[in-house]
C-alpha cells in the first residue's frame, strides 16, 4: 500500500463513528491534562488504558495518541496565562509567553502557539507517513541482535538526555528492568521474584506503576506546596488575532520548530521536552533581536510550541515502524497495544494496516479538532484552572485508585500503585528522572528476549553478536553518547595547555 492509498484507507477507518468519537475524547482529555499543572499525559494515558478494554485496539490507540499530542496544545495555555507550565514540554513557553501576556498580547501568544502547534503537528504527521513505512521495511531484516542493540541504545540515550545526572537515570533504568522481570519468565514460564505472591506471577503491570509514579506522585508534590487559586490573565475573543507583523515574525520559527522537533522526536529520550529547549535556543541564536527574548519575543513562543507537536509525531515513528518506544508516552502506547493483544513491530503496518493508517489519519483529524478546541474555546479550558486544587486532587486520587483496581480487580495492584506513588514522590524530591523507570519496565522483557535469542543464535559468541554491522553502529553510538560528555572537558583542557 503506498502512502496515498494508505492514507485514504486510514481516513475511512478514522472517520468511522467510534473512532471519530475516540479521537475527539482523546484530544479533549489531552487538552485538559495539558492545561492542568500536575497531571500530565502519561498519568492520563495510564488512567484511561483500563477504559479502552471494551474498545478495539485501533480505537484505543487513536484515543490514547490523542491524549499525547493533545496535551502539547493545552500545556501552552497555562504557561502563557498563569506562568506555570501546564506540563513539562511547555516550560519554555512560560518565559516569553507570560511576558507577552503581561504586555497585553496574551491572545496573540495563544493564537500563535495554537496555529504553530497545528502547522507543526500536521507537517510532523506528513513526515511520519513517509518515514515510517520504509523504516519498517528496512527493519524486517533486523534479527534479535539488532533489536537488542536498538533497545539497549534507546535506554542509554534516554538516560543521557533526560534531566538529572546520568548515573541516577541509569539506576532508574535498572529499577524499571527489575520490575519488568517480576513474574512469569517469558521463555520457560518459570515464576521469578514473586515473593510467594501468586498474583505477582502475572508480573508488575504498567498501569499501576505509571499511575503511581506520575499520578499519585504528582498529587503528593502538589499537596506539599498547595497554594490558593492562581492569578490568571483574562483574554477576550477578539484579542486572539495577532497583527500582521506578529504573524510575519512567528511563521519562520514555526517551520524551523517543526523540522527540529520531528528530528528530535526520532531520537530516544523525552523528545517533546528537549525539542522545546532546542527550538528556543535556536531561535534566540539566529534572531536579529536576541535581546527581546525573555521580554516577550513571539518567536520564543512560536518555535517551541511548534517543536513539541512535531516531536510527538516524530516519536510515533519508532513505535509504529519498529515496535520500540523511545519516550515514556509512546511506551504507554506500546503497553496499550500489548494489553490489546497486538504484536508491535515492523510487520504491524502490513498485517494491521487499519491500526497504522487509522492512527495516522486520526492524527490529522485530531490536530484540526485541537485547533478548533483551543483557539475559540481557550477561555473555557482556562476556567478549569479556577477549580479548587483540593477538589481536583481528590478526584485524581479517586480515579487513580478505582482505575487501577478495574484493570485486574486486584488489591495488589492498589498496593503497587500507592507504593509507587510514595517512591515516586521521594525520588522526585531527590531529582531522579522517572521516565527511565517506565521505559525499563516496558522494554525490559523485549531486551531480555532479544538478548537470549541473540546469544542462542550466535552460540554464545558475544563478539559475533556485537559485530553485526547495524548492531555495531548502534552500540558505537551508544558508547559515544556515554563517553563524549566526559571527553569534552579533557579536550578543552588540552587545547588550553597547547596554547
Amino acid at each position: 500500500m503506498d502512502s496515498i492509498q494508505g492514507l485514504a484507507y486510514g481516513f475511512a477507518v478514522a472517520f468511522s463513528g467510534p473512532n471519530l468519537l475516540a479521537c475527539f475524547f482523546g484530544v479533549l482529555v489531552g487538552t485538559l491534562v495539558g492545561v492542568l499543572p500536575g497531571i500530565g499525559p502519561i498519568g492520563a494515558m495510564a488512567l484511561l488504558i483500563p477504559s479502552t478494554f471494551a474498545l478495539g485496539p485501533t480505537t484505543a490507540l487513536i484515543m490514547l495518541a490523542g491524549i499525547y499530542y493533545g496535551a502539547m496544545y493545552g500545556g501552552s495555555t497555562t504557561s502563557i496565562l498563569v506562568n506555570v507550565p501546564g506540563e513539562a514540554a511547555s516550560v519554555v513557553t512560560c518565559i516569553d509567553g507570560y511576558q507577552m501576556a503581561r504586555k497585553g498580547r496574551a491572545g496573540a501568544a495563544l493564537a500563535v502557539s495554537g496555529v504553530g502547534s497545528f502547522v507543526a503537528g500536521s507537517l510532523g504527521i506528513v513526515a511520519l507517513m513517509f518515514v515510517a513505512p520504509p523504516l519498517a521495511e528496512a527493519a524486517l531484516k533486523f534479527g534479535p541482535p539488532e533489536y537488542f542493540s536498538l533497545t539497549l541504545v534507546g535506554l542509554i540515550f534516554l538516560s543521557q538526555l533526560g534531566r538529572g545526572s546520568a548515573i541516577k537515570s541509569f539506576l532508574m533504568v535498572g529499577f524499571g528492568l527489575l520490575l519488568g522481570t517480576v513474574g512469569m519468565e517469558p521463555i520457560s514460564g518459570l515464576p521469578r521474584f514473586t515473593l510467594g505472591q501468586l498474583q505477582l506471577a502475572q508480573g508488575v503491570e504498567l498501569v499501576p506503576v505509571a499511575m503511581g509514579l506520575y499520578g499519585i506522585g504528582e498529587v503528593l508534590m502538589i499537596a506539599e506546596r498547595i497554594t490558593g487559586m492562581p492569578q490568571m490573565i483574562k483574554v477576550k475573543f477578539r484579542e486572539l488575532f495577532p497583527t500582521v507583523a506578529e504573524w510575519k515574525r512567528a511563521f519562520p520559527p514555526m517551520l524551523r520548530g517543526a523540522g527540529a522537533g520531528f528530528l528530535i522526536g526520532l531520537i530516544p529520550g523525552p523528545a517533546a521536552i528537549i525539542s522545546t529547549f532546542a527550538s528556543y535556543t535556536l531561535e534566540k541564536k539566529i534572531s536579529k533581536h536576541p535581546e527581546e527574548f525573555g521580554q516577550g519575543a513571539i518567536e520564543g513562543v512560536a518555535g517551541p510550541e511548534s517543536a513539541n507537536n512535531s516531536a510527538t509525531a516524530g516519536a510515533m515513528v519508532p513505535l509504529l515502524a519498529l515496535g520500540i518506544p523511545f519516550a515514556p508516552a509512546t511506551a504507554m502506547l506500546l503497553g496499550a497495544l500489548i494489553i490489546h493483544g497486538v504484536q508491535p513491530g515492523p510487520l504491524l503496518m502490513s498485517q494491521k494496516p487499519e491500526i497504522f493508517w487509522g492512527v495516522v489519519a486520526s492524527m490529522y483529524i485530531g490536530n484540526l479538532l485541537l485547533l478548533i478546541l483551543n483557539l475559540p474555546l481557550v477561555g473555557v479550558f482556562a476556567s478549569i484552572l479556577r477549580l479548587p486544587q483540593h477538589l481536583l486532587m481528590g478526584l485524581i486520587l479517586l480515579l487513580c485508585l478505582v482505575g487501577t483496581y478495574s484493570v485486574n480487580n486486584s488489591l495488589l495492584d492498589i498496593y503497587i500503585l500507592i507504593g509507587m506513588g510514595l517512591v515516586g514522590y521521594v525520588l522526585r524530591k531527590l531529582k531522579f528522572d522517572l521516565a527511565p523507570v517506565i521505559l525499563g519496565l516496558v522494554l525490559g522483557p523485549m531486551l531480555e528476549k532479544t538478548l537470549r535469542q541473540s546469544l542462542f543464535m550466535c552460540r554464545g559468541d558475544v563478539w559475533s553478536m556485537i559485530l553485526r554491522p547495524i548492531s555495531a553502529v548502534l552500540l558505537l553510538a551508544g558508547i559515544a553518547v556515554i563517553v563524549l560528555p566526559h571527553l569534552r572537558p579533557l579536550i578543552k583542557r588540552k587545547g588550553k595547555v597547547s596554547q
Binding site: 477504559s51 541509569f170 539506576l171 521469578r192 503528593l220 506539599e224 478526584l395 514522590y425 531486551l447 531480555e448
Partner: protein, 153 residues
Amino acid sequence: MAIGALPVVCLAFLVVGGAYLVGSFYLPMGTVAHPGAGFFPLLVGTALVCLSVPLLIHSLKKKEIQKEEEAFPKGKDLYRVLGVALALIFFAVFLKPLGYGICSAALMVAVLRFLGLRSWMKTVLISILSTAISYYLFAFVLDVPLPRGFLFS
C-alpha cells in the same frame, strides 16, 4: 541535617539490588550460549549494585546535598503530604473489609480537609457525591466488581 535523604535511598537501592542479585542465583542460569531464566536478572542486579555504590559514596559528600535534592517539607507542609499518604494507605488496607463506599468517602474527606477545604458541610457533600458518582460509573457502567464491604454485602 547532617546527611540528606539521598544516601538512604541509595542504600535502599543497594539492598534491593543486592537481594535481587542473590535471588537471581536461585534461578536456572544456563550457559552463555543457552541462557536461562536467571541470566538477565544477574546482569540487571549487577548493574543495580554497581550503580548504587558510587552514587552512595558521591551522596555522602556534604556539599552535594543541596545540589542533588530538594528540601523535604517541614511542619504544616509535611503534615499535608503525610496526611494524604496515610489516607491512601488507609484506603488500600480497609478496601476489602469496609468496602468501596466507606473507603472512598473517607479518602475524599481526608484529602479535602488536608488540602484546605474549610467548610465541613462542603467536605461531606463533595465526598458523598464523588463516591456515589464514581461507584455508579465503575460498578454499573463499566462493570467493575468493586468491593462492597461487610455492611452492604
